[in-house]
Symmetry: C2
Subunit: 310 residues, 2 copies
């Protein structure tokens, strides 16, 4: 069964890694959010792409959820000693990725081709596609004004109160080569347990992607468990936008797009309400604490997709 996964950073990378443990590499395509990308220190940084690729390559940091394993921090320490900005943590090995990506982009290679070359070098056999080769950027509207995503997320530690989101550049953006084709070829699409507001929404806003998902079997895994995000500001965003954060809120969020929804056992009581939205529901353990936990969730989700009506 050919599967496409839509993914942001950590949660998406974990489920993608689980799927990669089951599906043959040619059967899995991961379409990754790039609206978190930004220019910093003259480098083009693609946090979600790197998190997904590092995870699939087995070189992701085992605990932080971002960055690389066996990492050192000498370049950043040297830069900070000179008064440079250290708020965005870039390790030495990670820096090599950003330098080479920036070099290739500056030489005219599109991001999707860079991602493909990096996957090959890292021994990643799955297809990892940026959602677009065009510059799309998340702007977080807050009580402290409009903030670029990393400014909000990393520099200000998600403290400003969220009032909404904008994704600049979407109107003029096209899906990266392979994105629409891989969706068309897929028997099913999984929306990973990533932030619906800032990881999945930008992917869905790229012209052509949402229509391509219609008449597909699409299932989403809730990134909220017991009303809380495993990582990141998703729950906080729902609250600040006046919506009680819960898996039910996520299911409503994806209403009209998905036919299946995956709830954690902790949220089993929400099953009737989610079902009443017209979705089939899978209740299982969605928290992925280990490689085997990722594999187990992936297996359950794949079984569930097989049972879904398109």
């Amino acid at each position: 069964m050919k599967v496409v996964a839509l993914a942001g950073g950590v949660g998406g990378a974990k489920l993608a890694h689980g799927l990669a443990q089951i599906l043959p590499p040619p059967d899995l395509t991961i379409i990754v959010n790039t609206a978190d990308d930004f220019e910093h220190l003259g480098l083009h940084i693609s946090p979600d792409l790197d998190t997904v690729c590092y995870s699939l390559a087995g070189i992701a940091h085992p605990r932080t959820g971002w960055g690389r394993s066996r990492e050192t921090w000498h370049a950043l320490a040297s830069l900070e000693e000179l008064g440079g900005p250290g708020w965005f943590r870039i390790g030495d090995r990670d820096l090599g990725t950003h330098l080479e990506r920036t070099r290739r982009l500056d030489a005219g290679e599109p991001l999707s081709r860079v991602a493909s070359a990096f996957c090959k070098a890292w021994g990643v056999g799955q297809r990892v596609l940026p959602m677009t080769d065009d510059a799309v950027r998340t702007i977080v509207r807050t009580n402290q004004g409009d903030l670029a995503f990393q400014e909000y997320f990393v520099r200000r530690h998600t403290v400003p109160r969220v009032e909404g989101f904008r994704f600049t550049g979407t109107e003029a953006a096209s899906p990266a080569p392979g994105v629409l084709e891989s969706i068309a070829d897929a028997a099913a699409v999984i929306i990973c347990p990533s932030n619906p507001w800032v990881s999945i929404a930008p992917i869905l806003e790229i012209p052509g992607i949402r229509p391509a998902l219609e008449h597909k079997r699409v299932a989403a895994v809730s990134p909220l468990i017991g009303g809380k995000a495993v990582k990141g500001p998703a729950a906080k965003m729902y609250s600040e936008l006046g919506i009680e954060p819960s898996a039910l809120a996520v299911a409503r969020h994806y209403g009209g797009l998905i036919s299946g929804f995956v709830l954690d056992r902790v949220d089993a009581k929400l099953q009737p309400q989610v079902s009443s939205l017209g979705m089939q529901v899978l209740v299982t353990q969605t928290l992925m604490k280990s490689a085997s936990g990722r594999r187990r969730l992936a297996l359950h989700v794949l079984d569930f997709l097989g049972s879904l009506q398109p």
Copy 2:
């Protein structure tokens, strides 16, 4: 006695370090070649400025003559794993310097202000000035065509046969703030044992610098000992340009500009011929094998300068 030293990379950095062990910091200004600077991986790299500053700060690599002590190479290894260019060796701590320099230049700071801020952060009390804030670049004319300096020097290992040199951008360049003032204030100027063709020549080509040296006490230390360069391609360049490489050739090179010349003991026999050029001559050990060797040479050169006629 206020002293100005004109310096390129390794040899210049060593003598500057020797002078810094003797003179009070406000009495020493080092004017550094920037025609070796180049853009690589989107970074502005200033090899000679860094070599001089790292040496004065006590963070230079003790053996290589370039780069930093206690260096690691993870970023470059990561970049090379992705197929990126590793021919110019940049360590992780060194990379922090280039990233922060590039960030400041991109924000509009002139190179001289960046150098001054870096010296302050590294605890370097001496004044280290780039020769200019403008872009001046050495082009090496060779039998394989015109080559940017680092292309010739690092990437092609000085193999191409030299036919001449051009320094682009000199006509429009101005001395960096403080350069002409420090020369005017100095009791004496030392031309360090740096490459006359590619380290000292570009400094002298910046409009205003050569005239400022007239009527000054100026002494040069030969970078050639026994007809050979301690490091780098100076001797090879003389040969390929049809000049027998020797300290005498260097003295002739600087004829009309200097009134004193420092020969190594190995070349003591050249003393009469150098004297016949109208220069006073100091014969001493010029090879600087250790910090104390740097200090000893600096002491002898300072004594010699005191005895020179302007």
